[in-house]
């Protein structure tokens, strides 16, 4: 399971970011999903990408991370001792440290919702359907790309996200 982001459709409304915050009740300053403006016409909505080779997972001395069979990378809060090694190792800045609780938290792809047959809240809230979830083992589209400008290096971690790039705009003049 992974995210599919259509860069052409994203208008930067931040509905996904707000929906995530509402659903997960994350404290102020902690946003599991963030929308970044890369250029005047390109926005990127990034959360944890539930990588195939998660670095957060490898470096955690407390073995607090697990990967479910559907690919979702979870963090077990009770095991986290707040060492922040995962925070520094993740190229996507997905794990976020809460100075009040001294714990790290991150997007869990709304697995309780998914287990109940619902879509992740960010996907459901997306006003333009730019964000969706797909089965990456089966999803095949010739237009998809594995990275976009402004997206961190995917080489080692192999994030579970694919992108539809922006299309080149054409201008038509009526005479």
């Amino acid at each position: 399971m992974g995210f599919c982001f259509n860069a052409d459709d994203c208008i930067g409304c931040r509905a996904c970011e707000i929906a995530c915050k509402n659903e997960n009740q994350t404290p102020s300053g902690i946003n599991w999903r963030k929308v970044k403006k890369i250029s005047s016409e390109l926005f990127l909505s990034i959360s944890c990408n539930h990588c195939e080779n998660p670095e957060c997972f490898r470096v955690c001395p407390q073995r607090a991370f697990t990967k479910r069979r559907d690919g979702i990378v979870e963090i077990e809060q009770s095991l986290c001792d707040g060492c922040q090694l995962c925070v520094t190792s993740c190229p996507y800045n997905a794990p976020q440290f809460d100075p009040e609780t001294h714990k790290v938290s991150k997007c869990q792809m709304c697995y309780p919702r998914q287990d109940a047959g619902l879509l992740p809240t960010c996907v459901e809230a997306c006003t333009t359907n730019a964000l969706s979830i797909v089965n990456l083992d089966k999803f095949n589209n010739p237009d998809i790309v594995s990275s976009l400008p402004g997206f961190p290096d995917i080489q080692i971690t192999r994030p579970s996200i694919v992108f539809f790039p922006q299309k080149i705009r054409k201008r038509y003049f009526l005479f």
Binding site: E52, N53, P54, E55, F57, R58, R63, F65, T66, K67, R68, R69, S89, P91, D137, K138, N140, D153, Q155, I156
Partner: protein
Amino acid sequence: MEQSACIPEIATELTKASHQNLTYFIQKVSDLSGKDVILTNNHNQLITSALKDPNHIIGSIMAIQQLEQHKDPSFSLYELITDSYVYRGWGTVVAYDNKILGYLYLVDSEVAKLEVQNQTLMSLASLLIASKLQMKLEIRQEKLKFKEPFLFDLLYGNLKQKDDILEHAKVWNWDFSLQQSVLVFTLKDFNHYATDKKLLNKLLYIVERTVVERRWEPIAMKRGNQVSLILTTKKEEQKSLKDCSRKIAEIVLKEMHRQEPERFFSCGIGKTYNDPRDLFRSFQEAKVALEIGELLDIQVPYFEELGLERILYKHDTQDLKEYYETILGKMINYDSIHNTDFAETLEAYANNQFDMITTAQALFLHKNTLRYRLKKIEDILEYKLDDINNRLNVTAAFKIKKMRKI
């Protein structure tokens, strides 16, 4: 008038022996028949044998030929060619519910006739063996059903209790109490919709076969475009786990290259851990080693041996670009303006451990020409190349370039 049913002694003996393992049972058949007994599976591979001559040891069966059929069609005379001797004897099919599970042979030097007593013995023995083999098959199928989920949980750190892992592993006779490490093999440009899935099955088969040939337990799992193999230390093994894993990786890659020369297979090896709860770490390390190995053209990369690359691969790309620019930028500019290849010379010098003679040989240059070139490079870069810190900087800069960060 009352008639008492009498169970023949052979039947009683065989039934009693059937409660023991197959080797014991075959020995019993041999004792009762007074002949050598060989049991094979449905692919004619040896399961067990009971031979009177202690010098006769069967390693494998090379060929089996049917010579003639008995009056009773369930018996035939066979010739068995093994790796050490050629045997002749009567054989019968071991079948359960019309499914052939194996073959039972009574072999001897004089095999012209199959006595009635041995005919009965073979019939009864094959029935009992069939039920034992069927039971084994069912257990194996049950085990397989749980094997992949267990390996997934093990490799993705979902099992947090060491005792649970050790206990669970006993189902497949795996021992995780000693050292272990993970090897990951991958097929490049994997396509879910092409015949690549079959290719991956072949990779899994070759990995398992290579491990079995070396008398190790094949603890392997296929997922996506990867085959992961867990190697555990064996007490009797002289070589270190590191050497064994490297050897296995080399054999598998060589075999895959031989069979599929047009496709690219690579491998990565993680660190060795004592605790099975850390296997997920070794698994992730193997995958990192695999990725870096592909970038740096290392055939069998070992995570532990990657050194500087381990730090560089996860460093910020912009930072690395700036570093590269600071260390080699002047020379790259000079090369592009004056159409020279000083960068190539310096890279060869760094690759040859900053040794003048080997670099000159590698570049087919005279030593004095190389000396002149290096002097020129020093002038362009404005630092000395005999300084150990500068050498480290240059090496790191070229590693960054090689890792396609630039």
